[in-house]
């Protein structure tokens, strides 16, 4: 076992930052931003260090306060969550820098509250990913959810409190189902540590209590990740919130829930139980295929760009759930790779929306007319992110889709493959519609208004602030870098991780 303190530092740094920030908000509000920045930078640094340590010397088991695993809480960092931790902390830090100006503009009097809740949300996410204890996961999940309700309610004053309250009702049902599932597992095993539970469960495959526990856990997580029939809370919650919040929650929350599902499938219940004893995989892959198509079709019907992207998330959740439930290593590889890629892709998309709303105050599709000449750099970012969502080769979206399709063919799930291809086409239609409006249709209305008010200077380039553009540039570059190096990510990280588990049926 390797002695290292980084797993604790990773979670404690943002937690302390939240505490200090809420304290300082009473004294001097301008200290809040640097404190949060330092806290998140420390967790990014420790996430990076953890990945390096895990790559060279294997899994890290960190015992909180020195208590041995079955009794104490263990933080377990292996190849999968080291990567996810890096993505989460990087996105949180970049978004903090990018949204500094718009936060100052939107919520001047609530600055301290906003930053402390923001960093508490990141604490919860990092904890959910790092922990190896089923009940600790529930507690951190609730920290994440509670802070996300508060963050979402800070948006549009007309609609965001209602969207947030609806999200709260559904989120509570989801988390409670997960808790109930853990309760049934505890009845059967008497333990809460994931590895320990998995060892004991191996002899209990026929038990109906374990089956109920499994169903409740999965149902809870599916509600939380907004798998298609359970997605109703997502589009309103994500599109009515202020953009600096939406950019953080939209790429991370649902993806982390998919990660938790994969963690439970591989580490707690095991492949044999899910695919041999239960034979549920066909049903779930069907649900995922329907989710992919339904998300795309509902996105086509929307006029607000924020809502279009929110429905694209619903569709992408279908990709990841389907890939994980195909029941072979290729599908699981695609699913894990898509967690990484989709977090970055969605983040890039929402950064673009952030830049546009910062300049235009509105993300309605009609306002996009002539935007290419007005905001060339932002729209270049949108083109890259759009290509990645569609799955055009040099960007990372293509590679995870490729693995998913290969996995689908290997498992004989041709409906899933078909859904993937149709959804790519739907995404192509969606994005080329946006490109067409913003590139070819000139904004006649705007010009008339400008002439009327004698504002001739505005007709030129009106780009977002430099910090926003740099964050967008960095994220868009990551899209291509992840695409180019996706082969080495799969070879060095995902395949060694997956070969620990016997994935042959």
């Amino acid at each position: 076992m390797i002695k290292t303190f980084y797993p604790a530092l990773l979670v404690i740094a943002p937690l302390l930052a939240a505490l200090l920030c809420s304290g300082f908000s009473w004294i001097q509000k301008k200290f809040c931003y640097p404190i949060v920045l330092v806290g998140l930078a420390i967790s990014l640094f420790s996430a990076f260090k953890l990945l390096m340590i895990v790559l060279t010397s294997g899994t890290i088991q960190y015992r909180m306060a020195g208590w041995a695993p079955p009794f104490g809480i263990e933080y377990r960092i292996d190849l999968l969550n080291a990567v996810v931790l890096l993505i989460v902390s990087a996105i949180a830090l970049i978004n903090l820098v990018a949204s500094h100006k718009s936060v100052l503009q939107d919520m001047k009097e609530k600055l301290g509250a906003f930053y402390s809740v923001y960093v508490l949300f990141v604490t919860g996410l990092l904890g959910v990913v790092a922990t190896g204890d089923l009940f600790n996961l529930y507690v951190l999940l609730e920290i994440t959810s509670l802070t996300s309700y508060a963050l979402i309610a800070m948006g549009d004053p007309d609609r965001s409190p209602i969207a947030s309250l609806n999200y709260l009702f559904i989120g509570v049902i989801g988390a409670s189902f997960y808790l109930l599932g853990v309760g049934y597992l505890y009845i059967m095993t008497g333990s809460l540590n994931m590895i320990n539970v998995a060892d004991i469960l191996q002899n209990l495959h026929g038990s109906s209590a374990v089956l109920i526990g499994f169903i409740f856990c999965m149902l809870g997580l599916w509600i939380k990740m907004a798998l298609f029939p359970l997605h109703i809370w997502l589009p309103n919650a994500y599109s009515y919130t202020s953009i600096s919040v939406g950019r953080l929650i939209a790429p991370l929350m649902t993806k982390i829930m998919v990660y938790v599902m994969i963690r439970l499938m591989l580490n707690v219940f095991g492949f044999n139980y899910i695919f041999e004893t239960l034979e549920l995989s066909k049903v779930v892959v069907w649900i995922a295929s329907i989710a992919i198509i339904a998300g795309g079709v509902m996105a086509l019907a929307q006029k607000n760009v924020k809502k279009i992207f929110a429905y694209i998330i619903v569709s992408e959740i279908g990709y990841m759930v389907g890939g994980a439930w195909l029941g072979n290593q290729t599908g699981m590889t695609g699913s894990i790779l898509h967690i990484i890629n989709d977090a970055v892709m969605t983040f890039a998309l929402f950064l673009v929306v952030g830049n546009i709303t910062f300049c235009l105050k509105n993300a309605h599709l009609n306002n996009f007319k002539g935007l290419f000449s007005k905001m060339p750099w932002t729209m270049a970012g949108l083109v890259l992110a759009g290509f990645s969502i569609i799955g055009v080769p040099p960007t990372c979206g293509f590679f995870s889709k490729w693995y998913l399709i290969l996995g689908g063919i290997e498992a004989g799930a041709y409906h899933f493959v078909g859904a993937l291809i149709i959804s790519s086409l739907i995404c192509a239609i969606l994005f080329f519609k946006i490109f067409e409006i913003s590139f070819f249709e000139s904004s006649i209305q705007n010009k008339q208004q400008n002439e009327h008010k004698n504002h001739d200077k505005i007709a030129g380039i009106t780009e977002a602030p430099v910090s926003m553009l740099i964050s967008l540039g960095l994220t868009s570059a990551t899209l291509i870098i992840l695409g180019v190096y996706s082969d080495s990510i799969v070879k060095n990280i995902i395949t060694p991780f997956l070969t620990q588990y016997k994935m042959v049926i």
Partner: protein, 136 residues
């Protein structure tokens, strides 16, 4: 038929939590008033807390405090022979302390949100809020 009743009677704690949970879920789905929905949510969470509390219970067992264990500065505990069956399982109860905190926090956030909604729309009935939203 008697087997059925005996099945219910021996596992009455599970039936009770299921009934409570369904009451809460019903209130959350059907009720029109937001405060009633929030109360339903609280019943739903309390049902799960009761479920956890009941799984730690054993018949003819007592609270898990061992008498005189700290008498000889910590050495006494090693000499005592402890039968696990004599004491109820404290772990689910400890877990539920955390879950109670979570449910109180959720309740607080939900009430704060409903205050915000009330300030905006002067009503807490969901259909009226929907009507106002449609007018905009």
């Amino acid at each position: 038929m008697t087997d059925f009743f005996i099945g219910i009677m021996t596992k009455y704690n599970y039936w009770l939590y299921i009934i409570l949970m369904m009451i809460g879920l019903y209130a959350m789905i059907v009720k029109n008033n937001l405060i009633k929905k929030i109360v339903g949510m609280n019943i739903f969470q309390t049902a799960i807390i009761l479920f956890y509390i009941s799984i730690g219970y054993k018949t003819n067992a007592t609270i898990p405090i061992i008498k005189n264990a700290h008498g000889d500065h910590g050495t006494g505990a090693h000499k005592l022979i402890i039968h696990a069956a004599d004491y109820i399982n404290p772990l689910p109860h400890v877990l539920m302390l955390t879950a109670i905190v979570v449910s109180v926090a959720t309740f607080g956030v939900a009430l704060a949100l409903s205050v915000k909604i009330y300030q905006r729309y002067q009503t807490l009935e969901e259909d009226e809020i929907r009507m106002r939203l449609r007018e905009k």
